[in-house]
């Protein structure tokens, strides 16, 4: 096998999982921790093939609880670390996510959503949107990027590491099995030679220098008030961060009567519907949150302020819908849901739904 390298820029044709592994190489990640689950397995498969060539490490853990917590151990020593999971594994990882939120640990999770609670429907869904944004017994102090293309998977995986190490909140790349498994062309690149600065890491424990101050990291509080102070300080940091990290995509919204709102891979179908309907002279627009957490609430409210209807389409039963309702409640646009838990949404179906309005 030829020696792989990531220098300069390369045009490639790969699956989304392979893209994530390459993005982690580009982000100069030190170690991945993981437990097998479809549809993220190939992230580990590619990583374990790439890792030794780049002096990187991998640990296959006994379950996703362990994958999450070993990763937290890794980041505490100042190493860039991540894990990837899906579905029930995402559920098991939430315990580590809340520890990362409270202790401000720069953990990175790649989630390739799949359907259903157990197995069999292992390829596609958007049913982990709420879980990924708000799972666990905390306040959802996280950054969640919902990608739609392979180029975005690459770009936002790098960005997730930067965001995590800049703001010290856990960061997520929210993909799905379609994105994980399909192949498409994209450009992969060495981040730094492309001008993407990689945020340096820093050990929280285990640094050896003479006369060092010992650190006692904890996640236990003596009083309700003490906990309250910590949560509120985190909330203030999160609020201050939100406008800096929030991202969205909008097209043709300002004169639109109907605005499609979708996230992730569904927004690709919406792009198709938009082109088709605009060609017919229909006044439609598209709004897509890229960060589903923090949610671009103001931006959405602004984008739909002239619209009569907002068509919310998602492969889940109302998870995006709730975020949209919160963002534009009190607005004049009527919200029309198109909820397809666990199944894909095509351009044709969106056009059909539009025609029913």
């Amino acid at each position: 096998m030829a020696e792989v390298s990531l220098q300069g820029e390369q045009r490639v044709f790969m699956t989304g999982n392979e893209v994530v592994a390459w993005a982690a190489v580009a982000a100069k990640v030190d170690i991945m921790y993981g437990y097998p689950i479809t549809p993220q397995n190939e992230i580990m498969h590619y990583w374990t093939r790439l890792a030794p060539k780049y002096g990187k490490r991998f640990l296959q853990t006994e379950d996703e609880i362990s994958a999450g917590f070993t990763m937290l151990g890794g980041v505490m020593t100042g190493r860039k670390a991540f894990t990837a999971t899906a579905g029930p594994g995402n559920v098991l990882m939430q315990e580590s996510c809340v520890m990362a939120e409270m202790m401000r640990l720069p953990a990175v999770y790649v989630i390739q959503q799949r359907g259903g609670p157990s197995t069999a429907t292992v390829i596609y869904a958007q049913q982990e949107t709420t879980l990924t944004c708000f799972g666990g017994n905390g306040e959802g102090h996280r950054i969640v990027y919902s990608t739609a293309t392979h180029q975005e998977l690459f770009d936002y995986t790098i960005k997730a590491f930067n965001a995590a190490w800049t703001y010290r909140f856990p960061s997520f790349v929210l993909g799905d099995g379609y994105q994980a498994k399909m192949r498409e062309p994209l450009t992969i690149y060495d981040a730094e030679s492309k001008g993407v600065k990689l945020v340096p890491t820093e050990p929280m424990v285990g640094e050896f220098k003479p006369g060092k101050q010992f650190k006692h990291l904890r996640n236990t509080y003596n009083t309700e008030e003490e906990l309250y102070e910590v949560v509120m300080a985190n909330q203030r940091d999160w609020d201050a961060m939100a406008p800096k990290v929030v991202e969205w995509y909008e097209k043709d919204c300002q004169d639109a009567d109907v605005v499609f709102v979708c996230h992730g891979v569904v927004s690709r179908a919406a792009m198709g519907a938009l082109d088709e309907l605009r060609a017919q002279g229909k006044k439609v627009g598209l709004f897509r949150p890229i960060t589903v957490r923090p949610f671009p609430e103001k931006q959405l409210a602004d984008a739909v302020k002239n619209a009569k209807k907002v068509l919310v389409a998602e492969s889940a039963y109302g998870q995006l819908l709730k975020m949209v309702q919160v963002a534009i409640c009190g607005g004049k646009a009527e919200i029309v849901p198109m909820l397809r838990p666990g199944i894909g949404i095509t351009t044709e179906e969106l056009v059909e739904e539009y025609n029913k309005l």
Binding site: E62, G74, T77, A81, F208, F214, N219, T220
Partner: protein
Amino acid sequence: MQELKENNVLQPAMPKSWNEETKPHKFCPGCGHGIILKAVGEVIDELGIQDKIVFGCDIGCSLLSWDFFACDSVQTHHGRTTPVITGMKRANTDIIGIAYMGDGGGYAIGSQHLFNAAVRGEKITIILCNNCNYGMTGGQMAPTTLPGMKTETSPYGRDVEQTGYPTKGPEMVAAVAPEGAYVARGTIANVRQLKGFIKKALENQMAGNGISFVECLSSCPTNWRTNAKQTWEFVEKDMAQYFKVGELRTPQAKEGK
């Protein structure tokens, strides 16, 4: 460690690796956790590894040690100390990682982590306090509760028909760990020996041999509702009868076979 004299009275010496500001410690009077951690502190001093230690503690009364040492420390979630320290050691092999936990943390909620860390031969040191119950939550039955022993959730005594026999952790770890493992069971009733076990467990990690695991028979007079005499009797007789004290695996012995 220095001997201190105050008003001409010899004061108990405090290990250098202890965080003086947090002493006296937060455990109940008569609790074994403090005795185990004293042994740990003395060993850290003797090995001169205070700078390299990352001490992880679980949820359970072990969490009261989150600021116990003048060493880098991390308090994690219930049962998750083994993976946190494992993840650290995998990411940075220069640290000396100690995962400190209770019997509930190690043998119940975190048993899959302990088992698999042992199987993989993680190069960390796990120190587990066996006090036959869930101390922090008010004395429920633990995997280590002795047959017939009364706890809040076994008020008529542990019924082995329904709940099985007490978990023998070191035996389990010794059975599954690859070569290079150090496994022992000590007791607070023999601190000199316990200290020796803990020292070997840390030296074994420093030598990069494999997993090191020490279970410590300990006391929980608060939940046992025992006075000093009864407490010692329980540790020395009842516990030691079921849980055999001694070394189960030393790296040399296995390799020499």
